[in-house]
């Protein structure tokens, strides 16, 4: 701590250069804060406490291949399965095809397996009584300023209804005030209404969800479920909800790979930039470092000071960047009225970010610090 003023003085010796470098670091970690939130949202999809007790069964061929509804009672009969439900992808868009909505046709008991949807009993009762009822997530309702009682048209990108039109009309009967970001951005309609209205479905379901009592028996139960349709035309693949969601997300895009690639490029550039800044800063202070060593500062203290300076530089810029990202998310979400839904900067993002800051600081500072430590005092004082 007693060297703190020396580190601060070294950092701000050239204010202009330090500020420009800090802006670069801040920009890099602002991007990291926003992108890591997206990555985590995708990575954590399906990994809820309730999700651990749910198995998802889909077609082994492809997630767009439907399964016969007749499988439901057979899956329910598997030892360890407590309850079975099902759903279909609906794929609706509101007003514009670009306003895509995660919308699903769900079985009557679907909400029993998803308590995190947080639908109040009155809304659930209205949903049960209304054939064209629609439950919408709060973020979605905020985005389009929907209210209970509104009648809205949704354009299905795949399924026509009974009159051959792809425009379906729904009555909003409840808002799902869920903390699960996925559900908060989704809409649920009745599977029976969907199945009876579209000529394309005819008693098929997109996937089954089974609630199991013993999480430890999950692998065995999954094997037993898949054994039901083994060697049939509709072989299934059963996996935990987290794994199923991850696979489903990966079929859209490997978000983790994309985010990691972008951040890798950003941090590599940052390494070169700050590495150059640190090398220049230490080179300019050769005689000052030589004086410190002359006075009696041990080599390891000089090494520590240069490393601390480097880590401090990255930490200051990085914390500002992550701080801005943390403030920016809620601000943008509120200002956009739900149109944009930026994920918050989580504690794990902060921890990962701080780890990256320290690592970059140490990598960037290592060479200049070693050079400072090995500085030959006599040569440095003579300007050689």
């Amino acid at each position: 701590m007693k060297y703190l003023h020396l580190i601060k003085a070294a950092l701000f010796r050239r204010k202009g250069r330090t500020i420009l470098t800090l802006i670069s670091i801040t920009a890099a970690f602002l991007l990291f804060g926003m992108l890591d939130g997206v990555r985590q949202s995708f990575a954590n999809a399906g990994q809820t406490a309730a999700g651990a007790t749910r198995l998802q069964t889909g077609s082994r061929l492809s997630f767009i291949q439907p399964l016969p509804k007749a499988l439901a009672p057979r899956i329910a009969a598997v030892d360890g399965v407590e309850e079975v439900t099902w759903a279909n992808w609906f794929g609706g868009a509101y007003q514009e095809p670009s306003n895509q909505i995660f919308s699903f046709a769900i079985a009557p008991n679907y909400l029993d397996l998803y308590p995190e949807a947080n639908v109040d009993p009155a809304a659930r009762e209205r949903f049960a009584e209304t054939r064209t009822g629609l439950l919408v997530g709060k973020a979605l309702a905020d985005r389009f300023k929907w209210q209970v009682g509104d009648q809205i048209p949704l354009l299905s990108t795949i399924f026509p209804n009974s009159d051959g039109s792809k425009v379906w009309t729904f009555d909003i009967v409840g808002i799902m005030d869920s903390e699960d970001g996925f559900i908060a951005g989704s809409a649920f309609l009745h599977w029976e209404y969907f199945d009876e209205s579209t000529p394309y479905n005819q008693g098929q379901v997109g996937w089954y969800v089974s609630r199991i009592g013993d999480v430890g028996a999950g692998d065995r139960i999954a094997r037993d479920i898949d054994a039901i349709s083994q060697n049939s035309a509709h072989e299934t693949k059963t996996q935990t909800e987290a794994a199923a969601t991850a696979n489903w997300m990966k079929q859209i895009a490997d978000i983790a790979l994309i985010v990691t690639s972008i951040m890798g490029a950003v941090f590599f550039t940052l390494l070169l930039l700050t590495g150059n800044t640190m090398a220049q800063a230490v080179r300019e202070r050769t005689s000052e470092l030589a004086v410190l060593k002359t006075i009696g500062f041990p080599d390891r203290s000089v090494l520590f000071m240069v490393l601390a300076e480097s880590v401090a530089l990255i930490l200051i810029g990085g914390v500002i960047g992550l701080g801005i990202a943390a403030l920016l998310g809620p601000g943008v979400n509120a200002a956009s009225g739900g149109v944009i839904n930026m994920p918050p900067v989580s504690w794990s993002s902060w921890l990962l970010g701080l780890g990256i800051m320290v690592a970059i600081g140490l990598i960037v500072g290592a060479l200049p610090a070693l050079r400072a430590m090995r500085l030959n005092v006599v040569d440095a004082l003579a300007g050689r």
Binding site: H5, L6, A9, S287, T294, V378
Partner: protein
Amino acid sequence: MSNMIEIRYLSKVYQRGKQQVEVLHDVDLDVASGDFLALMGPSGSGKTTLLNLIGGLDAPTGGHITVGGERIDQLGAGALARWRAAYVGFIFQFYNLMPALSAQKNVELPLLLTKLNGAQRRKNAAIALQLVGLADRASHKPGELSGGQQQRVAIARAIVSDPELLVCDEPTGDLDRQSAEDVLALLEKLNKEHGKTIVMVTHDPRAAEHATHTLHLDKGTLVEQAAAEPAARAQRAPA
């Protein structure tokens, strides 16, 4: 009076490319405690090399150096750094102050290596600045001080940890006459009143007149050792 510095058969050889250059050759030297020695000689004669060896900044190729009873030629890098921090104060031609730190913080630097707390460090630095006549400039940064004032801050930094030995490399080489005289008077005061042993490299005969002894080096060998002229000393003495 005991010797502060004892040097025997000292030699120093530098490797310059493929060539070996012998900078010092078989130097023997005794400097008594409380002495003020001026080292003179032409450029390249080995003055600064000898000073660096005495100050423990460089290691000899041969011979041995004892300073304050310690064989410093036998110390490792870490021990030598600790020894320098405890026993030697350095004064350079170009002051070598930290430009981003105030005079007070510059003077405190050697005390960071001690166990003194912040308040004690500030107090000792203030005393050192008072001794060199710059108590009122404690908060000024080097860029806000004249050359003479900067050198006095450097002297305060050199004496703040109360070392027995001061090594000065051309301390007046970058100063005007008046500032040089002020600095030399201050060194003389530190020598006479505070008992500091001083070894000073200089090109300036007038600076050397402030020393109690002057030695001349030529081509790495000591060629002359003479007591300073008593008449010259009397001339400089205040009326």
